[in-house]
Symmetry: C2
Subunit: 204 residues, 2 copies
């Protein structure tokens, strides 16, 4: 029988997803939980709530706290942090490339590197050149990866991911869902979500 | 020289303030930090953001997660929890009574008891009878306390608290502010706020 698993739903424009992406693999290994990376787009979900940009831009006092909070949390975790400009950046292409990469074993490492480029290195993840450089750094054939990312089938796959996120009741990122359907929202809940996923299931 | 202190800003209608109120005194004692209870009203602050009720009601998928999250966190903390009906309840009278009580040494205990009545016992904190019962349970002269709460000076004091919260950039509750002005939002940040408050200040 397969061990416990946790779905990790993230959007590359999401600030707290950076922290979760940097932390999840070692924590999941410790908890003996398999993680499934699930990129999606928050944009359509925010739009359905009447927001046309990040709520951190719509509510400036909340945004001010978020940047400071992120800075403090990153310092406590020993993670580099630099506030991206502009914010948010379109995560569409990066999410498409990730989906293509998850078929090919480099999707997770690529995801972590994209978050680092955006939130630690001040690079523009909405620019294909940045993604190409990241792919090359991972020894991935960038041209093939981008071609696969931009195929109709892969574009449809990302739309399906985002619809699935909506169906699951996701309203922000990162979010974590156990196989039993338990939903946890936010980097702050990563440890709790892993512990929940790892505990014995009824009937097993 | 006085030791470090932390301001604890809360609204009795705030779900996560229940958890913080139940936890803050023992944690602050461990951290050697003095806590100052600062009741205020979120209503005017939400209104300034264009919300006429709790964002958890305005965004139902977010609200659904919040209730489940609260239930899980309370279970982990060994705190009783029962979803209040209706939600939110007016916190105006309870906040006024608290301010009167903070002058008289029973304000903190009263606050914790009001949160417990609302979020653990299914009682209506917007009803004077509930507050009277809580006061009697604390051996406080309920009539004098309510008279003091409803004095013009005390009403003005609550308005001033709420204006001060707005001036400080508070946008939700609970919030914690160190003497150096560092703002932490949310029950999830209580430990971090205490640690920040406790660390040596530059120049001291």
């Amino acid at each position: 029988m397969a061990g416990p698993a946790l779905d990790f739903w993230f959007d590359f424009a999401s600030t707290y997803s950076y922290l979760a992406a940097a932390r999840i693999k070692p924590l999941a290994a410790q908890a003996n939980v398999a993680v499934r990376f699930q990129p999606f787009l928050l944009g359509p979900i925010f739009k359905a709530q009447g927001w046309n940009t990040s709520p951190f831009n719509l509510y400036p006092v909340k945004g001010r706290h978020m940047w400071r909070d992120l800075e403090r949390l990153a310092a406590d975790l020993g993670l580099p942090f630099r506030r991206p400009e502009p914010f948010p950046q379109s995560s569409l292409l990066a999410a498409r490339v990730t989906l293509a990469g998850l078929d090919q074993a480099w999707g997770e490492e690529f995801s972590v590197a994209v978050f680092r480029a955006e939130f630690a290195e001040g690079r523009r993840i909405d620019e294909p050149a940045t993604l190409t450089a990241i792919l090359l750094g991972l020894n991935v054939d960038a041209k093939s990866a981008l071609d696969a990312a931009l195929s109709d089938a892969n574009k449809l796959r990302l739309r399906t991911q985002t619809e699935e996120a909506q169906r699951l009741g996701l309203f922000g990122a990162p979010s974590f869902i156990t196989e039993g359907g338990e939903l946890f929202w936010g980097n702050d809940r990563l440890e709790q979500a892993l512990a929940w996923a790892a505990r014995p299931q009824p009937g097993s």
